[in-house]
Amino acid sequence: MSGQTVPADFSGHMLDLDEDEDLEVFSKNTSLADGSPMPNSPSSMVNQYRLEEEEEEQQQDANARDIFVSVDNPESHVTAIETFIMYRVVTKTTRSEFDSSEFEVRRRYQDFLWLRSRLEENHPTLIVHPLPEKFVMKGMVERFNDDFIETRRKALHRFLNKISVHPILSYSQHFKVFLTAEELMSHRKQGPGFLSRMGETVRAVANSVRGLRSRPEEFTLMQEYVDDFSNKICSVDKVTQRIIKEQREYLDELKQYSPTYSQWAGSEEELAEPLRGVASCVERCGLETEEQIQHLSQVLVPALHEYVLCAETLKAVMRRRDNIQAEFEAKNEALASRRVDQEALQEEVDGLADRVELANNALRGDWSRWQNSMRTDLKTAFLSTAEKNVEYYEQCLAVWESFLLSQRAEPSEQNDGEDAS
């Protein structure tokens, strides 16, 4: 299991666990194991990152997971005003801060949105995994189409799992509430209100208009990477969509093609048998093609799509980091120019300076973690695709070889010119 973040049939593993049994250990390559930097700056926030200490005691690769989350069982929920889908979220954990070791709640898409925005708010420069989109622009007519729901469910599952393995985010109070509270609405009302969020946004815009004094080199490089990565991943996504489109059109033609052989067989005597044989081969290859298209749609496309969304998340993270720095610089400038209330302003500036350092450290730490995760996820998806394609050709090969075999078995008149391999 090394190198994977979450096994796909995750819920199966979960159901095997009893409260008293030892938990299965999923070894994982994380940046933490590499020894890459975790924030250990002299800020008070460091104390929240308990996991860091535990992990330093850990062996090289193994990262014992103590919380498992799954999303399943989408059900239509009808009220007087609206209809929406509720998903079942099951949590199993040994963490002490949880009152119990098992939880089951029902959540809707809006609840996930809430959780994510809370996480982003509290950790502006951590890379919070994206959620599946609200709507799909093209091709989707009905919100409650089965494929759409299943795709969304898988993405929601991945989202929660990404959070649950994140060394910082998985300890978020909001995450806990999301997983455990029977009813989420009351919790959703709490927290910084709409207006205060507005205020932040306005400040952010004002700061970005002022512009950054000087972005540290490492973050400039990061920004460049993010822009490039965004371009590339979008391109790969587009190419993949195009391939699926071409494959579908190819499949349509194949479906028209095989009947031409069987129709011809109808007017032949000796030839009827080999003609029907070829018709059957073409048909079976068509079935394999159908499977291959499905695999692409279910494995590679979602993985790429997730990282297209990640690219947007990264851009937002970079922006927020810049804003934090800009805010500090703005106040710092003010401090330098004004004489009034120097002491109070100095304290504010110091606070902002700390905030900048924290933000930068958080991003640094999460950055290599994210890169590794991206590499692993996409590697897995590409590998799976390549394997499926090999399997596709192997199946088709077998189909045609069995046809050849059937023709060899026939008493054949020709003893010249047949140079079939």
Binding site: R242, E253, Q263, L271, G277, A386, E387, Q414, A420
Partner: protein, 430 residues
Amino acid sequence: PSIHLSIYLSIYLMTQMSCRDLFSEAVNDTGSTLVRRMEICVAEAEKRSGKNAVNMQETFTVYLIETRPMDAVAEGRNPAPDSLWRRYSEFELLRNYLLVTYPYIVVPPLPEKRAEFVWHKLSADNMDPDFVERRRIGLENFLLRVASHPVLSNDKILHHFLTEHGWKEVVYETGFQAKADSRIRALSATFRVRNPDKRFMEMKHYSDQLQSHTSQLLRARARVADRLYGVYKVHGNYGRVFSEWSAIEKEMGDGLQSAGHHMDAYAASIDDILEEEEHYADQLKEYLFYAEALRAVCRKHELTQFELEMASQDLISKKQQHEELATGIVRTFSFKGMTNKLFGQEAPEQREARIKLLEELIAEGEDTVKEKTVECEEHVERAWVDMQRFKEQKDKDLREALINYAVMQISMCKKGIQMWSNAKECFLKM
């Protein structure tokens, strides 16, 4: 393609037979009814320019026909081949001559004049080098088929075509063009014939089926080829994007880059695959065109049968007229009979003259009926033999073609397995 190989090899094993023996000769497995003691091939194609019939400059392709005596080759001597250049139109002329001269033979078809059933990448242009090359092969195939035919291979004009520069004068001298059945006559016969041989009607129906099915298959195949081309080529985009992406990655870079190269190779591999499949399409096309030749033989039967019926009908009516005149009993209504009743009988001398004329006509008519009967029966007999030969050839050739197609598919699958296994190795290095 193995079709050509089998015919080519068969030529090595020939014996010469007289025409008389051929009609009762059954076709052997290995084609030992082939008669030409000559190695034939269409070696090259070249572009030429010249003035055409309306004195305008035109470009056309000529094909080099090379021949060598087979015994020289067998003995290990390697004489230089005799050769001459021929245009496609000359091949057409030869075939038209054969069609007229041997209406009881299913005459092998020529490769198509213009490229049909093209998928988008293939050029429909007659000057396209791939098209010219496939046509060269098709023309060689035509010559080999004719030269290995138990009847056609003995034709003198064929020999002239293969070896003499002045063949055109000779072929025009045969006056074959005058002997060609008018289309109108043939069409009329098709509609009005009363008792055609059932087997020929079935054959005609079969030829329609063969034509319809092969053309549907070829059309569908071309569309599949077109789509498959699209699928492979789009993967080339992966190559480009992976390469660009690898530049910004550290750990992933190498794996992505090399995977990209394999994607490029995958995209490029479709060109050869589809070019090879064109040869399969050509094998099917040959039988698409053969269907037309088969139908022509059936139509000739309708024509000879119809002419026989007409001649018989004519003879019967003349005999009746004679009987009426001789006995005075009018059995059937006739204008003459009516006018006789109305205006009185004609003079005995006139009657005598008419009776004598009719007797001459009847004698002629009997000869005609005999002639037409022989013509019709001969045609039926010879055509039936050749249609059986054709049927066996067709079953063998097409079965081989289908097997070849399977072989091509297998080769394509093996390439695919290779490519994607390579890509997988690269992804593992990511």
